[in-house]
């Protein structure tokens, strides 16, 4: 499965390079084409929660998945919409916005959901715990990673 995916990515990046005129001899790659899941997460959270501050961090490299995966994310969402809501209610809003991705290609999502006041008094990015290799033995990971790779091909 992996060699095929690598071939697909190589062909895709070659296509991008040859299709555009090389003005400064540097291939101009659209970031959303090489990080489609991250882009989608950003877009959906922005639309759903109108955040004043948003960080979407791909943490897949910290886990037992192939390089270039988009399976493990950390998000920091700072929005006045969270005012008066419990942690659970806030996290559910984030989960709902990303329902499709969470049921297909995103395997793990670490969430920090703060009001603007909370964030300004403590603007600290949380740190995910070290991986204990769970994804290595996880049969469902293969499907999720394939879904992620398919979205790059499309």
């Amino acid at each position: 499965m992996l060699p095929t995916a690598n071939n697909c990515l190589r062909r895709f990046s070659q296509t991008l390079t040859t299709c555009r005129p090389l003005m400064n001899h540097r291939p101009h790659m659209d970031p959303s084409a090489i990080r489609p899941i991250e882009t989608t997460v950003r877009t959906k959270l922005t639309q759903a929660l109108s955040p004043e501050h948003l960080e979407v961090i791909n943490e897949s490299h910290m886990h037992a998945v192939p390089p270039g995966s988009e399976s493990h994310f950390r998000v920091v969402v700072v929005s006045p919409r969270f005012e008066g809501l419990s942690l659970l209610q806030r996290h559910r809003l984030v989960n709902d916005a990303l329902k499709e991705e969470l049921s297909s290609c995103i395997h793990a999502l670490a969430i920090q959901a703060k009001t603007p006041q909370q964030w300004s008094s403590d603007p600290k990015l949380g740190k995910s715990p070290p991986c204990m290799g769970g994804s290595k033995h996880d049969h469902s990971m293969a499907d999720k990673l394939q879904t992620g790779r398919d979205s790059i091909k499309n």
Binding site: L87, A108, A110, S128, M132
Partner: protein, 148 residues
Amino acid sequence: MNNILRLTARCLQSGHHRASQSHAWARLMCSTAGIQKNLEEMVKKDKVVVFMKGTPAQPLCGFSNAVVQILRMHGVDAYASYNVLDDQDIRQGIKTFSNWPTIPQVFFNGEFVGGCDILLQMHQSGDLVEELQKLGIRSALLDKEKES
């Protein structure tokens, strides 16, 4: 539950050419409903229930391990834990049950509390000590404070 079974029986009787489809559907419905019912019992059976990857002695995921470590810090060692990697039905079922897409999942007195992030924030804010107190569990951190 009874309605589901009656509907299932009617479907099974309704036509031989649809028998195999209905049979698979009936099996699915019965097992899905069955699992949800089991989960309801499982989360209520113990004060603290954790659905995780691996076991408290050997977690297989950093986020599940974080939950175990936090509970251990508070002196909570006697809790029910279920390894979702052992049972795909439970793994999928608990996500449907709590309407929560990821593992680990923590329940206090049958009520869904959240995952690793929420438990960590509750621990950092001091809310976890309070919530454990409501369960009749005295956090070990209270005793640590007294000592120092």
